[in-house]
């Protein structure tokens, strides 16, 4: 499983490098491989199909124009793509009205129930899963709402019916223990 993930990652790296050289076939392949994962994430964060499609388009236009930046950034290709998608989604959330959840069919929202309950997909994800397990439920839940649904501090506080200050400190401490655990 880890081998497969590693080889997928190398393929994405190579595709991005080819995109930087203006290779359209590589761009097309990159879209085929990369888009379903990113689209699932965007649907989750934005809760609106039309908006998720717009942002996915923006993401790949950005990727095509900035593929050359990737080489120098040294991280993994998946992480790079994910970061662009999440940043664009957060910008879109700021500009658009808050998701009318009714606009999305329930089966279009992947894995809404328990984002941390699924089987870890690769090594880094497995380690992260272990570290997330060590967090208290409130910490973990707050992190999940921020990461997967793009909620702000005050939106999380509202969702959980807790004071804003409490939620802020949960998230701060959750991030600190996560870092400590991942570096251990």
């Amino acid at each position: 499983m880890n081998d497969r993930t590693g080889s997928d990652e190398r393929q994405l790296d190579a595709l991005l490098a080819a995109c930087a050289g203006g290779d359209r076939e590589a761009f097309r392949s990159l879209y085929r491989f990369g888009s379903p994962r990113l689209f699932g994430l965007l649907l989750r964060m934005l809760g609106r199909r039309d908006l998720a499609e717009d942002v996915l388009q923006e993401v790949f236009v950005t990727v095509w124009n900035r593929a050359g930046d990737f080489r120098s950034s040294r991280g993994s290709a998946t992480t790079w793509l994910t970061s662009i998608a999440r940043n664009r989604a957060i910008d879109a959330l700021r500009k658009s009205s808050r998701r009318p959840l009714s606009a999305v069919e329930p089966d279009e929202l992947p894995g809404r129930a328990d984002p941390f309950g699924e089987v870890a997909l690769d090594q880094s994800s497995a380690r992260l899963g272990e570290c997330l397990e060590l967090l208290g439920d409130d910490y973990r839940h707050s992190l999940a709402l921020a990461f997967f649904e793009g909620l702000s501090h005050s939106e999380i506080a509202e969702r959980l019916g807790r004071p804003l200050g409490t939620v802020k400190s949960w998230i701060r401490r959750a991030l600190e223990s996560l870092r400590g655990c991942l570096e251990a």
Binding site: R4, S7, D8, R10, Q11, A14, L15, A17, A18, G21, R24, E25, A26, F27, R28, S29, Y31, R32, S35, P36, R37, F39, G40, L41, L43, A52, E53, L56, Q57, V61, W64, R74, G75, S76, T78, T79, T82, S83, R86, I90, R94, E108, P110, P115, F116, L121, D122, S124, S125, L128, L143, A146, F147, G150, S152, I156, I171, R172, L175, L178
Partner: protein, 225 residues
Amino acid sequence: MNYTGERLADRLAAEYVLGTLRGPARRRFERLLEAHPVLRAHVRAWEERLGPMAARVAPVRPPRRVWRRIRRATGTSRGVAGAWRAWAMAASLLAAVLLGYFSASLLPGPPAAPSYAAVVTGGHGRALWLVTADVRRGTLSVRAVGRVPSPGRHSYQLWLLAKNAPPRSLGLLPSSGSSRHPLPRSWLAGRRGAVGIAVSLEPPGGSPTGRPTGPVLYQATLARG
């Protein structure tokens, strides 16, 4: 940056990546990022830490119109590359006739499942060939995307690897340009699990035995796209 500043930078980077740094504070932080490599390093570290969480979301295939819009927006659509496409169409038509293979459709399709792709990489992970298998059309296309080392007086030969079966020749590989190979029907019918491709160095014109005889130089997994 002193210790307190370093801690603050790390905290802001974490909340920026998580997405809880919002509004004007987020904008300010993005402006700071432009100017401060140290801050960018913090952000990158947090992206690597939190990014794998995204793997927990089930993938959803986007509708085809998104890809059409992306191609228009990036100028990578057929209109712009008209001449090249026309040439590719003619070449593929010729290949189909020569190989006695009748393709169901030569229309360049939008991303449609199922398809497979692999990037054959050489030293330092540099891409050499881009291999895409189109199951609907029953063809495998290979394009040299990087500077492929000259095989000298030898030939590069492409092999299809499948579970519990000997490697199967797909033909000779070009050092530049592109080629198209029909996929064996047996593979199309039974494809599942891990499959890959391999490139070996063979006598001019290819292996005389139907099996790889020279060194296997490259291998890659055909991943489903």
